[in-house]
């Protein structure tokens, strides 16, 4: 019973704190750029405003257009239940391992891309094919990273990986170093961060993620934006689970939770700071440089795999 409650708590926590994370990230970026931030709670105000606006459907679009925001949101909520954020060994965790998790993200992405192509506008299809290109290279890089962790823990279940990596304390493996570098690059690419995509841009020719949302309005747009914020939190959570797992306890030891939750929030805050720094210091890449970026991430992931196989570490 406690496990189910904990599971529900995890999903709700992720869903409702995701806008806060996005707001914190934006505020930090703004401070680093010497401007006055709008406050961490701005995302909540934006979502509130969007939910209360009227939602319009473009002519010529089909049921896919209406369905996609809910599909994406549902997929990310399911992923929030699978990734061990608060505790390992939650009831939903054995239902999907790392490969299925990547597949789940891919499913959400395909729905988004198909909904964009449904509108039939040049910008949406532009964003769609760019997204598929980035994904075509980022997904293998992500899988290579996750394989390195799986090979080390001899399992593909995220709970088992986290439990194993926690025990190792400071036994740092070279392969995990490469995996961490690759994972960070994939995080930037998949969540439409600089240097791959500018989340604040509205210039049509430089958009990837934003381009696919152009026709949405009202509650559908709110769902898509919220979904993107949840996706960022999920990727950061996977990164924490793989590379900084100390503090994620098994479900049985739930009593320790009041101690571990502040540590978790601290880790998220640190991640927000690092992301803000990276976004401020780097410039956005030209679109045809981003395959190079993704290829570098992929090949770093492969080097991680290689160093596991050939060096045994």
């Amino acid at each position: 019973m406690t496990a189910i409650l904990l599971e529900l708590a995890q999903v709700l926590l992720v869903a409702f704190l995701a806008p806060l994370f996005a707001g914190l990230l934006r505020a930090l970026r703004t401070i680093l750029q010497n401007r006055r931030p709008a406050g961490c709670w701005q995302s909540y105000r934006d979502l509130y405003r969007l939910f209360h606006k009227e939602s319009l459907q473009a002519e010529g679009t089909s049921w896919l257009f209406r369905f996609a925001p809910y599909g994406i949101f549902g997929a990310f909520c399911l992923a929030a239940g699978i990734i061990p954020i608060l505790a390992t060994g939650l009831p939903l965790a054995p239902a999907a391992d790392v490969i299925a998790l990547v597949g789940l993200f891919a499913l959400a992405r395909v729905f988004q891309v198909l909904a964009a192509m449904d509108t039939g506008t040049p910008f949406a299809t532009l964003g769609a094919h760019r997204e598929m290109l980035i994904a075509g290279l980022a997904e293998p890089a992500l899988l290579a990273t996750l394989f390195t962790a799986s090979l080390l823990s001899r399992s593909t279940s995220l709970s088992v990986i986290v439990a194993h990596l926690e025990q190792l304390h400071f036994a740092l493996h070279p392969s995990m170093v490469f995996a961490a570098a690759a994972f960070f690059m994939v995080l930037l690419a998949e969540n439409a961060r600089i240097p791959v995509d500018n989340p604040a841009t509205h210039l049509e020719l430089t958009m990837i993620h934003e381009a696919m949302l152009l026709e949405y309005s009202g509650r559908h747009l709110a769902l898509m934006e919220w979904g993107a914020q949840i996706k960022l939190v999920l990727y950061v959570a996977i990164g924490i689970a793989l590379f900084l797992p100390w503090g994620i306890v098994p479900t049985a030891e739930i009593a320790v939770l009041p101690l571990t939750v502040p540590i978790l929030l601290l880790k998220f805050a640190a991640a927000a700071l690092i992301l803000a720094l990276v976004e401020t210091l780097l410039a956005k890449l030209r679109l045809f440089r981003s395959p190079e970026f993704m290829a570098t991430a992929f090949l770093l992931g492969v080097v991680g795999l290689l160093s596991f196989f050939m060096l045994g570490a």
Partner: protein
Amino acid sequence: MISCLPLDLATGALLLWLGLGLLGFLLGGWPALACRLVFPASSVVALLLTIAGFTALTATPDHLQLHGPLPALPWSFQIDPLSGFFLILLGLLAFAVALFATGYFRSLPGPDLRRLMLQYHSFLLGMGLVLLAANAFTFLVAWEIMALASYFLVVTEHEEVGSRHAGFLYLLIAHLGALSILLGFVILAGATIAQGGPFSAMLHAPLNPFWASAAFLLTFFGFSAKAGLLPLHIWLPDAHPAAPAPVSALMSGAMLQMAFYGMLRVDFLFFGKLALWWGPFVLVVGLATALFGVLFAAVQTDMKRLLAYSSMENMGLIMVAFGLALIFRTHGLNALAALALAAALYHALNHAFFKGLLFLGSGSVLHGAGSVAMDRLGGLIRQMPQTAFFMLLGTLAIAGLPPLNGFVSEWLLLQAFLLSPALPQSTLSAVLPLAAAGVVLAAALAAYAMVKFYGIAFLGQPRGTRYVHEAGRWEQSAMALLSLACMFLGLFPGVLLNLLHPVLLEMLGRGFAIQQGLWLTPVSAQRASYSPVIFFLGMAIALGLGFLLIWSLFGRPLRRVPVWACGFPVRTPAMQDSPLGFVQPLLRIFAPLYQAERQADDAGRWQVRIGEPVYRGIYQPLNRIVLWLSAQVLRLQQGRITLYLLYSFLTLLVLLAIWR
């Protein structure tokens, strides 16, 4: 009683198919009646074949020998779990395709229909006989029937030059392959080839390493010609589009798997000892095929050609799994080999279903919209909603997305790769992570290609076609059945894995644990577990709850408005991505591979033609060499009588000298 049922049932079903083909030929004068009668009967017979396959999985292997016209060469048939599995594949696919054909060929004129029915059923007969053959003679005769029948089906539209060219290339490569298989069988059978080369004599044949490798290479070359692996794939992209859609579905879904069946039978059962380099060789060929196939699938503008290249990619993935199984088997790790082989067999069945579904859908599009060229399609989801829905399921399945079936076989393959640290040899330890990375790259690019396939044809605004009608009831039911099969295989993978157990036992001597309930745990729950049903339910609940919550709180009816499109006043269909425009980044990144040429045509439009590097690099030079050689030989024909008399005289002298 049970033991003799499967073989009798199977041979009976095949004879019924032949009978139906002849019946269809005779009834050609009444096309509507013939169509309504023959094809549904054909699907019932396919069901019988499937039942035979199911019973063969659990029954003891059975044997049948008939004596034909040639006294020393008997027809020999057998059925065992391996044949049973492929009979299930063939039967289920033929069932759905025959239902589709009932509606699809309704409007074909009499003479064409009678020929088509005969050829179609001969094709099915050939494939079934290949699976039941128990000696080299029967196998090769059946192989030839399969090749010839499919040749005639490919050149159905023989008025088109393209069809004839496609047929010629197909026949050429098929016969090259058959010759190679024959030579391989001769080596394997040794002296017993005089009695027709029974498979039972070839089992674990003791051959010295040189001849074993020669037999392996010859049979692999021959079967890869049929499977469409690199570099013998050039017939695939031309032959599949030329054939009618149901035939393409059968060719892609079933015929390519016959080659896989051949490889399985030869490599796992006939060779006693596998050499170290065979497994990695198959793996590398499979990986190269998969990457080549997916890269070329992405840049096609014709729906059927795209699907043909995609078949190449999927066969490559099956070969990767097969090669991995061979590697594990060579090192004696039979449990891991069972996992890799299960992944290969699962993917073969998955491919039959989702590729069959996609080809049938393309056929519906051809009939409904008049073209399969993607630059003239678009927006079909509004005018062909049911077809579009089934095609969406097929696209999601082939892109390897959970919770459908394509994901399960990829999951199994990746799990097998992750178990490979158990291998002792260290040089493999460099190849295998690269191979795993290559597999995931191929899968990700396949998603790109298939999203393009679905999005350009079915979504957006119509680019050219105006009058579109939906597919008929027979076609829709066939596609619905295949979609259901995809969903079933995706949600309940344990069922198929338990069915595969006898097959794996036969091939490797061991299977893996029986899957229970809703969980897929091939090795152990600690190691990896996946539950598609919980996954699907979880997503459905999250989606449903989200929808209800938001609808109750913020729900209002949606208003239809013109598209915003960033405020552009004009919006034409040409402003959307064209099929090549959607993959323009790939064209740029892999430009040396594609050798794309841009030319402006008379209307001022750019035409981009993609070259075929293997054709230009290997086949055209070979062609030139062969032509040059023949030109040299032509010099013998001078036209002077005295010279011909000289040839005969010289030959006589030589023979006399030797004979003495």
